[in-house]
Structure formats: structure tokens, C-alpha cells
């Protein structure tokens, strides 16, 4: 296979303050499918086109935000190799192994804290319980979908302080490419990085700001611009707290809308973008063009979009 090493963001674990309201949001409004609950009270979800057992996990807590992201790698051997490389990189702290089965249908996970303060995991095995259309002569989409019904969990955008250390870890140790970046001032100081481990334009992105371990959004993939507009209808119909959109990003070219779950964690659904190859030159945006870089239609920044994190 041509895509090797780290394959994709395989799960994100979010903290919510009212589990029932959160489950209703992520199933009825966003349109994920609940697949399991465990004895710790966690609820596990997947999007309809995902093969592996789960991709989103909610945990009841007294504060909002992200616990961690998990990255699926291509094999057990790669997991061992990358765990060693990450541990020896000098860039991470709090390394540990999480036993197989701690997440249902999931093998052992290597956990570490990256320079921006976020907790990340690598794992090689999660049972492929299958997507909603199956794999033999499948229909293009399944019946019975609810809400926005994205086909997959796509990426997260995270805020933290040591952007340089985190970019070094992802590019030099984990093998990611820098698809796009935002730089500031005549010295071209990097303030944002969009990182890809695949053909996606980003699998994770980071923005430099003073506090460690902040969560900006988890994003889910729709098919096209009309589905983004329909997501906007669902947001209004269900009186969901909207952030902004529908609009297009200059960065990544994505067609997008942002909104909040009932605990204030930001979600995005988007379509479009482009295919990223590892040999594609990095796209650079300068801070004087940050308005259209982030919001291509309005061409100006939005205070809440940049400031509100959990």
C-alpha cells in the first residue's frame, strides 16, 4: 500500500457536561451512529461510511474540551517503531501504554503529550465492524440517516503554545506533511500549521496561542456544498448554537459551517478541499491576508471564531 505509517485520525474523545443532551446532538443533529456504551459511562459513535468500530467518544465531565485524539497506524510493527521514535524524540512527555480493550474493539494504544499540551495516541488495531452500506455491491449511501450525516470524522483543529515543537514532532517523527501554514511579520513567524498524513488537505491543524491543550473544533466530512447548506438549515431548525458560515475557507479551500455542541465544543461539517500529495509544495498564507485565508467570502476575521475554545 502506498499510504503507510500513520493512516488517519481514528478517534477523538470529547468531554461533555450533559451526556444525554450531547448524545442527542451527536446522533440526531450531527448524524453519527451510536455503536457502544461502556461501564465507565462513555458513549462511542461512528460515521456511516467508517469501517472501524468507533471514531468519536463522549465522556461526562465537569468541563468541556478534548481528552485526546487517537491515530491509526498501518501495522503492529509500525506501532512499536513509532512509539519508540516518539518516546526518544525528546519532544513528548507522559508516555504510557493503554491496554488493549480499554476502548471496545481496540488494541493497545501508545499515549503521549505533545509540545502544545494535547494528548495523542497511536494504535494499530480496531475491529472493522463495517460501514452502513457494506462492501459487496454497495449502494452509494444507506437509508435511515439522521441530521447532517457526515461520512467520516475528518480532522481536529487545536490551539497551543509550542507550535514549533508540535510541528517538528508531526513532520519529522510521525511523517506528516505540512500542507498549508500561516506566517506573520517580516520574519515569517509561523502561527498556524495544517498537517496531513494522507491525501487529505489536513488530518490535524494547530494554531499558536498562549494556553496549552485547547480544542477549537472536530470536523466531519460532507459530500458537497448543498449538504453544507442543508446542515445550516438543521442548525436553525434545531436551534443549535451557530458559530459561523456557511462560507468557504481560503486555507484548504473547504466549504464549511461551524456550530457548537450543547457543552460548547465546536463542530465543523465541510465539503471540498483538494487532494494533498506528500510532494506538493506547502501553501503559505501571510498574516496581512488572514481575513480571506480563513473566510474567503467575508474577507475579514471573526472574533468569536478565533477566540472561543474549550
Amino acid at each position: 500500500m502506498a499510504l503507510t505509517g500513520v493512516l488517519r485520525p481514528g478517534h477523538v474523545v470529547l468531554r461533555v457536561m450533559d451526556l444525554d443532551k450531547a448524545v442527542a446532538h451527536y446522533t440526531d443533529a450531527l448524524g453519527l451512529i451510536e455503536v457502544a456504551r461502556d461501564d465507565k459511562g462513555r458513549v462511542f459513535f461512528k460515521a456511516w461510511d467508517e469501517a472501524d468500530h468507533h471514531s468519536v467518544v463522549l465522556r461526562q465531565a465537569d468541563e468541556a474540551g478534548m481528552d485526546y485524539m487517537g491515530w491509526k497506524v498501518d501495522s503492529a510493527a509500525t506501532l512499536e517503531r513509532l512509539a519508540g521514535d516518539v518516546k526518544n524524540s525528546g519532544l513528548v512527555t507522559d508516555t504510557s501504554w493503554i491496554a488493549a480493550g480499554e476502548h471496545p474493539h481496540t488494541g493497545k494504544r501508545f499515549r503521549f503529550t505533545i509540545p502544545t499540551g494535547h494528548v495523542m495516541e497511536l494504535y494499530a488495531q480496531k475491529d472493522a465492524t463495517g460501514c452502513s452500506t457494506g462492501y459487496l455491491n454497495p449502494e452509494p449511501w444507506p437509508d435511515g440517516l439522521k441530521g447532517m450525516a457526515p461520512s467520516r470524522f475528518d480532522h481536529c483543529l487545536l490551539y497551543g503554545d509550542d507550535l514549533d515543537g508540535t510541528v517538528k514532532l508531526f513532520t519529522e517523527v510521525l511523517g506528516f506533511g505540512l500542507a498549508e501554514e500561516v506566517v506573520a511579520g517580516p520574519e515569517k513567524f509561523r502561527i498556524a500549521a495544517f498537517l496531513s498524513c494522507s491525501n487529505k488537505v489536513h488530518d490535524v491543524a494547530f494554531i499558536r496561542q498562549p494556553m496549552k491543550n485547547k480544542f477549537h473544533h472536530a470536523s466531519f466530512l460532507l459530500d458537497n456544498w448543498y449538504e453544507v447548506l442543508k446542515a445550516a438549515d438543521i442548525i436553525s431548525k434545531r436551534k443549535i448554537s451557530i458559530d459561523l458560515g456557511p462560507t468557504r475557507h481560503g486555507i484548504t479551500r473547504g466549504e464549511t459551517i461551524y456550530f457548537f455542541d450543547p457543552s460548547g465544543n465546536r463542530n465543523e461539517v465541510f465539503a471540498g478541499g483538494y487532494i494533498y500529495y506528500p510532494d506538493k509544495p506547502t501553501v503559505t498564507w501571510t498574516d496581512d491576508q488572514l481575513g480571506p485565508a480563513i473566510f474567503y467570502h467575508d474577507r475579514k476575521l471573526n472574533e468569536a471564531f478565533l477566540s472561543v475554545v474549550t
Binding site: 457536561m17 450533559d18 465537569d62 468541563e63 468541556a64 474540551g65 503554545d161 506573520a184 511579520g185 520574519e187 513567524f189 502561527i191 498556524a192 494554531i207 499558536r208 496561542q209 498562549p210 448554537s241 458559530d243 457548537f260 455542541d261 450543547p262 457543552s263 460548547g264 465544543n265 465546536r266 498574516d287 496581512d288 491576508q289 488572514l290 481575513g291 475579514k300 476575521l301 471573526n302 472574533e303 468569536a304 478565533l306 477566540s307 472561543v308 475554545v309 474549550t310
Partner: protein, 119 residues
């Protein structure tokens, strides 16, 4: 039943139905004064301190309002329900979005993408 919400460190006051949180009541009337964030009790942008008046609150992130602060009248306006006329002090504000480096401190003006350097 409507209660009067007065922002003491601003010039705004507005009516708030008993069953609507203070932030939504402000937004519905097109009024300003309290910064609007996630509206879900998670981000802390709409933090206020109730100076006077009876109220109840919904679930608010402990990362934004500590137990001590809560007993001292601090609340998130999106989870604040008036049970009488309230006088509020706005505490929360939009944080700077990008900052920090050894070579300079960059602040990105949120309204117009202007940048400045403070050493």
C-alpha cells in the same frame, strides 16, 4: 414574566424572560454588552458576576467558573437564568488569538487582521 438585566460596567439594560438564559435574551433583542461565545457553558467568554439579584444556573465548565467563584456570584451568562431583576458585571472577554515567540509578541487585531509587535 420578564426581569430586568442591567450591566453595571456598561450602559446596557434589557428585559429577560424567566425561561431564557441571559445571553440568549440579550442576543434575541439585538443588544450587546456581554461577549458571545459557544452559548453552551463551555468556553467562558460570556463570564459575568452577579452583583445583585436572585438567579439560578445550569451546568458550567469548571475550567471557566471554579467552585469558589460560583459561590462568589460568578456565572456564565449562557447558563444564567434570572429569578428577579439582576445587576451584572461583565468579566469575560475575547482572548487574543495568536501570540508569543522569543523574537517578539504578535497580536492579531481581530477586526481587521492588522498586526503589531510588542517587545
Amino acid at each position: 414574566m420578564k426581569h430586568r438585566i442591567e450591566i453595571v460596567n456598561g450602559s446596557e439594560s434589557f428585559g429577560c424572560p424567566a425561561d431564557l438564559d441571559v445571553l440568549r435574551a440579550m442576543e434575541c433583542l439585538g443588544r450587546k454588552g456581554i461577549p458571545v461565545g459557544c452559548r453552551g457553558g463551555g468556553c467562558g467568554i460570556c463570564k459575568v458576576r452577579v452583583v445583585e439579584g436572585p438567579y439560578r444556573t445550569g451546568a458550567m465548565s469548571r475550567a471557566c467558573v471554579s467552585v469558589d467563584e460560583q459561590s462568589d456570584g460568578y456565572a456564565l451568562a449562557c447558563k444564567l437564568f434570572a429569578e428577579g431583576d439582576l445587576r451584572l458585571q461583565v468579566v469575560g472577554k475575547m482572548a487574543r488569538c495568536f501570540a508569543g515567540s522569543a523574537g517578539g509578541f504578535h497580536v492579531y487585531g481581530l477586526q481587521g487582521a492588522a498586526s503589531q509587535t510588542n517587545n
